[in-house]
Symmetry: C2
Subunit: 198 residues, 2 copies
DNA sequence: ATCCGATCAGTCGGATCCGAGTATGTGCGC
DNA sequence: GCGCACATACTCGGATCCGACTGATCGGAT
């Protein structure tokens, strides 16, 4: 039996909460503004921003005491806007959370890995084709990322620090592309044995 | 207004369903056996196998008509076991799903990316330390993966085809490690400007 | 004989997720 | 001065997820 005082109010699981906190640290906002700001800054590349989840996340952040409702006003006949601020605790927890996310790699389950696990079932030829198509998509994505990076950083429109996440994504895409191309080549050359009926 | 016949019964979202299907294609099984088999084969590296989700996933697969209950028997006084088989439709859909997962890269939201987006907030020094610790974890993980790969493939205990998923994971870890080390080094050398107060 | 921990097989309910919906306000073309 | 697309701001409910629990059985050490 655990009393209320002994149980720790574990942090929100949804990374979107991190984004919310990050914005509120700059200035108070209402949820809708948070969503639009996130999209403006293209942080929706890194966070899955869906309205439904956003309001849930904000509520749970409030329950945890990391943010607090500041005022709730109505302009015209529109729905009310509730403006939230971060709390002192919120600031601390934000940094702690961030720190841990960086320090210790979280176990993830990318869909591609699950698919590779059953690649054999696709048959040699179909696998080769599917991989080749993927390689095309990846190459295109990498190009887009490189272009976006050049546009911003080379032009001096923002320091590299703020493009790190794009840089990382690019490196990962490149690595995946290299591997996919290698496997496709190994299928072609017969280097990769295909023990299953195909 | 859409009638029942016109609406397509979209495929299960949870990749665990793919794993279930994959096993049932080999032979009929009951959920508990599916879970243990998945763990034996270490497919729980690629799929998040939790009992709760498993039973949900099986139910939804049955609703979709991709698998079917074959018999439900009781041995002794234990809970009943319901054995499931794949259906013809299940076989087709499995391949189609697999094919698409390979062909088109899905948008993912790794936690690390969300953290990098706010790396600036950590401050120069703390960021450098956190990244260094991560690098350590990643290096250890890479070592483990390399060892596991050698154990199995070099020893000829299984063909490379069945280790692809481990190979892929390893390549991605290596790429991430390289990037993390680079950024840490750039912080040290002052190459990476830190515009925010720190 | 019997007690204990591991194994077997599955249920349950709370938490979370998120797409679709609601309802008003604003700007602009004609 | 009317219609209509778009923006504003949030709510709702179904679907899904998953940790914690139940409760029986089995094997072996005592």
């Amino acid at each position: 039996m655990e009393t209320e005082s002994t149980m720790k109010p574990k942090r929100p699981a949804n990374p979107l909460a991190l984004a919310v906190l990050g914005l509120l640290l700059e200035q108070p906002m209402h949820p809708h503004a948070i969503a639009t700001t996130l999209r403006e800054r293209e942080l929706d590349r890194a966070f899955k921003v869906t309205t439904g989840s956003l309001y849930d996340v904000v509520r749970s952040l409030e329950r945890a005491g990391w943010i607090a409702a500041q005022e709730t006003a109505r302009v015209g006949g529109r729905p009310e806007r509730t403006v939230y601020t971060h709390t002192g605790q919120g600031r601390e927890q934000f940094v702690a959370w961030l720190d841990e996310l960086i320090r210790v790699p979280a176990k993830e389950y990318p869909k591609f890995i699950s698919a590779i696990s059953y690649l054999g079932a696709l048959g040699r030829q179909a696998a080769r084709e599917a991989l080749t198509e993927r390689a095309g998509h990846l190459a295109a994505e990498a190009d887009r990322a490189r272009a976006a990076w050049r546009d911003v950083v080379d032009a001096g429109r923002a320091p590299r620090l703020f493009m790190l996440e794009l840089e990382y994504a690019l490196r990962m895409i490149e690595a995946e592309l290299a591997w996919v191309e290698q496997v496709a080549a190994d299928i072609d050359s017969g280097t990769l044995a295909w023990p299953v009926a195909a």
